[in-house]
Symmetry: C2
C-alpha cells in the first residue's frame, strides 16, 4: 500500500512517544525528532509506511541504546491478555458459529495497540468490542478453504494480541499452523519471546519472519519464512502494518484487523474502528 500523507504526522507523533519511553533526556528527544523530520522529508524513497516507521524507530534505538523501548508495555499487555484468556475462551465456547467469533476475538486483540491507544483500559473495552460484528467478513470462502487446507500461516502483529490469536488457533483442528512474528523489537509488535509468553507455541510453530519492520516486507524476510509464505494453503495477516506491506503481495491473503485510523478505514471502505476479515486474491 502506498504511503498516505496522513501517516507522516502520525509516525512523527509515535516516534516522540517511543523516544520518551526510551529516555528522559530532552536533548535526545530533540535529536531524535530532528533526525525523524529529516527522514520524513525523504518519505518518497520508501515503499510503504512500515518501512519508514522502521527507520524512525531505529533512530530511537540508535540514539538511546535502548533496543526495546516498549519491552515493559508489551510484558504488561501480554499479562493483561492472559488474564482475559479464560473469559475469551468462554466467550467463544458459548457461540454457535465458533469460527466467526474466534476470528472476531483475534480481531479484537488488535485493540491492544499501545502505539495508537496509549493508556487504554484494555479489559474494559475488550468486553464491549467482542460483541461488535465484522463490517466485512469473507467467512464462507474461509470456511470452505479451511475444509481442505493442510497448512495455515498466521502473521502476527502486536504483543498481547498474540493471546487473542491463540484463542482463534485453538479452534482449528487437523491443520498445520505456523505463527510468524518480527525478527527484532519494533514498536509493540510481538517477537518470538512474546509469542511464547502468550502460549502460542502450544498450538502453532512459532517462527520469526526475519524482518524487523512493523509489517512484512517480503524482500527483507528470511528464505525459511518465504518458503512457508508461498506454500501455506491459507495465509491470515493480522493488523494494519501487515496490511500496508502485504496488500499488493504475490499471493492470496485473508486480512484480519480493526481499522484504527482514517487512512485504513478509507482504503478498506469501512467506518473508523470497524472490524474487517477480508480476502484479497492474487490478482487483485
Amino acid at each position: 500500500m502506498e504511503i498516505f500523507l496522513d501517516c507522516l504526522p502520525c509516525m512523527l507523533r509515535q516516534v516522540i512517544d517511543a523516544s520518551r519511553m526510551a529516555t528522559e533526556s530532552t536533548k535526545l528527544h530533540e535529536k531524535i525528532v530532528e533526525e525523524a523530520i529529516n527522514l520524513l522529508g525523504n518519505y518518497k524513497k520508501y515503499r510503504n509506511s512500515p518501512e519508514v516507521g522502521r527507520e524512525m524507530h531505529w533512530l530511537v534505538k540508535n540514539f538511546t541504546g535502548v533496543m526495546d523501548p516498549y519491552k515493559e508495555t508489551k510484558k504488561k499487555d501480554i499479562q493483561t491478555a492472559l488474564k482475559l484468556y479464560p473469559y475469551l475462551k468462554q466467550f467463544v465456547n458459548e457461540k454457535n458459529d465458533r469460527i466467526y467469533w474466534a476470528l472476531k476475538t483475534a480481531a479484537v486483540g488488535n485493540v491492544i495497540d499501545t502505539a495508537i491507544n496509549a493508556g487504554l483500559d484494555i479489559e474494559g473495552c475488550v468486553k464491549a468490542e467482542l460483541d461488535k460484528r465484522f463490517a466485512v467478513c469473507d467467512l464462507v470462502r474461509f470456511k470452505h478453504r479451511l475444509e481442505k487446507a493442510k497448512s495455515l500461516l498466521v502473521i502476527g502483529d502486536n504483543a498481547g494480541e498474540t493471546v487473542f490469536d491463540r484463542v482463534f488457533l485453538e479452534e482449528l483442528q487437523n491443520i498445520d499452523i505456523t505463527y510468524a512474528v518480527r525478527s527484532a523489537p519494533i514498536i509493540n509488535d510481538a517477537v518470538v519471546e512474546d509469542a511464547y509468553a502468550s502460549g502460542l507455541d502450544r498450538c502453532a510453530r512459532v517462527v520469526s519472519a526475519g524482518c524487523d519492520v512493523p509489517g512484512v516486507v517480503l524482500d527483507r524476510c528470511s528464505q525459511a519464512f518465504m518458503d512457508v509464505f508461498h506454500t501455506a494453503d491459507i495465509v491470515v495477516s493480522k493488523g494494519q502494518g501487515n496490511y500496508e506491506t502485504l496488500s499488493d503481495c504475490g499471493r492470496d491473503v485473508y486480512f484480519l484487523l480493526k481499522a484504527k485510523c482514517t487512512v485504513l478505514s478509507g482504503v478498506l471502505d469501512v467506518g473508523l474502528n470497524e472490524y474487517v476479515f477480508k480476502y484479497k486474491g492474487k490478482m487483485q
Copy 2:
C-alpha cells in the same frame, strides 16, 4: 511559551487538512507537505508554535493561491453560533453568578475549533459543555478589577467563538471594550469581517491586531494595537494560540480557554479538555 515536540506532528496534520480544503490536487498536497516538513526541521528558529503555524499555513496560500481555505468553515461556524445565541443568552440569564457563567460561555465558544475538531457536532456538545465548571477560575480578582476598570481588551480566537464572546461582553457595563482579531485569514481564526458577522461591533470596538499569526506576536502587531494592549485596564486572551504567544508577555493577562491538547493541559496543570480562566501577572 516554548515549542513542544508534540506540537510538530499536530501542525503537520493540520497543514495536510488545510491543503485539502484549499485544493483537490494531490500533487500540490505533496508539495505543501514536503515544504512543511522542511519548515518543521527548522522549528528551533521560531519562538513559539503559532509562528511556525503561520509559516506552514502560508505554504498552503502560496502554493494554491487560496488565501482563506477555512472561509466556508468559518461562515458555517458563525451561522451555527448565531443560531445558538438566544440559547446562550437564556443560559446566562437564568444564572445568579452571571459573570462566571458568561465567562464560561465565552470559554465554551473555544470548542468551535475546526482545526482540532473537524466534523464536530457543535450544537450537541455546546449544551453539555456549558454546565461544566472551570478547573481554574481567577474570578474574585477579575471581578474586583472590573469594578474600577475603564477599559477592557479582549483578544479573540476562532470565528464562531466570537458569538460566544459577544454574550460575555454584553454582560459588562460602563466599560470601554476593544475586541482584537487577526489581520488576515489564518486557519479558522476570526478576522474583522468575522467579528462583524458575529455582531461584536454592537458591544465592542473591533480592531485588527495587525498580526496574521494564529496567536498574538507583539513585535508583529500594529502600533495602534500595541497602544491598546499596554493601556487597557484589563486584557482577556482567548484560546490556546494566544496563550502560547502571550504567556510570557510584558503585562498581566487573564487567559480564558479550554485545554484542548495534552501540551496545554500539561502547561496549565489541568486535565485534558478542562476549562481555564487564569490570571498571569507581569512578573510571573
